[in-house]
Symmetry: C2
Subunit: 378 residues, 2 copies
Amino acid sequence: MKFDILRDRFLNGLNDVMKAVNTKTTIPILTGIKIDVTNEGINLTGSDADITIQTFIPVEENGEQIINISETGSIVLQARMFNEIVRKLPTNEVEIEVTNGFATNIRSGKSEFHLIGSDASEYPLLPELSADRQFSIPADLLKSIIRETVFAVATSESRPVLTGVNWKVEADELICIATDSHRLARRKVKLENLPTDITSVVIPGKSLNELFKILDDSTNPVQIVLTNQQVLFKTDDVLFFSRLLEGNYPDTSRLIPEDYKTNVTINGKSLLQAIDRASLLAREDRNNVVRFETLQSNTVEISSNSPEIGKVEEQIQVETLDGEALKISFSAKYMMEALKAIDGQDVIIQFTGAMRPFIIRSVADDAILQLILPVRTY
Amino acid sequence: MKFDILRDRFLNGLNDVMKAVNTKTTIPILTGIKIDVTNEGINLTGSDADITIQTFIPVEENGEQIINISETGSIVLQARMFNEIVRKLPTNEVEIEVTNGFATNIRSGKSEFHLIGSDASEYPLLPELSADRQFSIPADLLKSIIRETVFAVATSESRPVLTGVNWKVEADELICIATDSHRLARRKVKLENLPTDITSVVIPGKSLNELFKILDDSTNPVQIVLTNQQVLFKTDDVLFFSRLLEGNYPDTSRLIPEDYKTNVTINGKSLLQAIDRASLLAREDRNNVVRFETLQSNTVEISSNSPEIGKVEEQIQVETLDGEALKISFSAKYMMEALKAIDGQDVIIQFTGAMRPFIIRSVADDAILQLILPVRTY
């Protein structure tokens, strides 16, 4: 194996696959990056067993020669070390050559590194996913869907299936749901060519967070292939594989109330900032709980009280306020995350009494629903 | 105590004094910031017992009214909490009022906080330093002096006096020395009005690092007052007090060799980058040691060898190379920090054999000297 490559383009590819590499893995070969050199270009692969990222660098790109291949072959090189070496090389031309066994020379300018690589045939193979059942989502929409749901997954492993986001297909809609059993985030989106055989999977929250970092904000389609064990997200540059979580995702539809006793329309950003301020005192105490109380003449009050430190009160003018008077307490963290997911628009908050879950929706759009369970404080 | 103040100017002052506050202090009152309101303006004080920072906000500044004072007085408020509250207030107008006892109201827009403060009379008093023996250094020069020396202080407490920088007065020169007994950094600077009574103090490295963050890059003079226990740095806005370290600083002058057997002139930046690359392999192994070897025809080689991972070699063209041939090993970290202190200019490196300390100086300027002890590897 021997090739010359432009360092900056090589680094771009390495940075993508590095996102899958976890140096704390218990599988030694996965601390490495696999480099496969063919006559068409170079495939780079990184994996932590749950997530696998592969990227292809072609010999020529946009009319520019990126790689000059002298001999094809494969090698696995220690990921973090190799990435740092390439980043710090003195010139933009890099020559990489595997000599006897797995000994690898990296040359650039007057600098020469000799690394001891590993056998590429020991690296796990990628799952084979049949590409005849795929659908696509524009990259920017996929990022929104992730951002609006993934924060609500459970962080504790006590019910592993809740650490993922449930993607369900119902007719022409994809429904994405995350819950940690104290709050729930749901996003619906109409799509074409949705699969009809596999209609419910659970994607690990960690995988979606890593995928989010790789996607750009373009409208370029991301092709998605679902199987029973794996999901594949394909962009022009990158194949992103994630294993799926096993187990049945709970039916959450009964959690969402059907009729409401108090309805408030309010500017999401003002409410977010007021809760952020109130939570400064709440954070030191009792699980970060703030109080929300309806007052007369389209006003609500946000307050928090921490006997050791002090208290805070703030009144906010709302757009509309209908139904029964209400005093309710909830987690400031959950409320702030829900409001951030809806992204600063006017929101409708609908309550069914101080001890029942309440929901938050955008005034403009029914696609996002956030649900929060209140906290008993009396 | 009652006053109105513009939030943004108030925050600037709070940010300065916050740099001295350490929330892990064992002295409860020092988790707070002291606010003293007089008819002229507001003094803010923060301290961790070693460092004390005080700043003054005048009633009027550049023709703009900053503060409106209704009642003078003093209070201590929990530093981190108070700073966060002020930062997140909804408007630029803040009213602060101490009502009965130490209860403090903070109002801005429709937001109202009630904090439980502490008695300002329990806050430690500032040391009284007589201002008749002061000298001054331009802020940017003072920052350079700190940057060129403080990195070399000892981090271990086994000889506490070495965790500080020794400032010595000799005739019209201030000589600043730091050493951890493996390397040494020395900076000399000619100044006027240097004190003649107190001629040697040791300033804690931590204090100098904090002072560095507060100073700007202007040529504005920083007034310095030395006493036996304390040093005070005064800028227009800020009083920065630091306690001094006790104990005699060792005489380091004998460490510096007087004649040399090998002299190398080399571009500091090229050498720094080559050592940075070589240290990628060295870092995993044996204390981060790299090898330096003189070759024929104005060339030196930097190399490193780690049996488990691989090796690296790089040749560098030097400007001049005189004297005996040399193979020497040293800490990549110490060499890189020394070269960074000299800041990328051409440097002279002078050796007295593989087992003796060597020195690094700028070609342009004799003011900075760096000394490093080699490592025995044979």
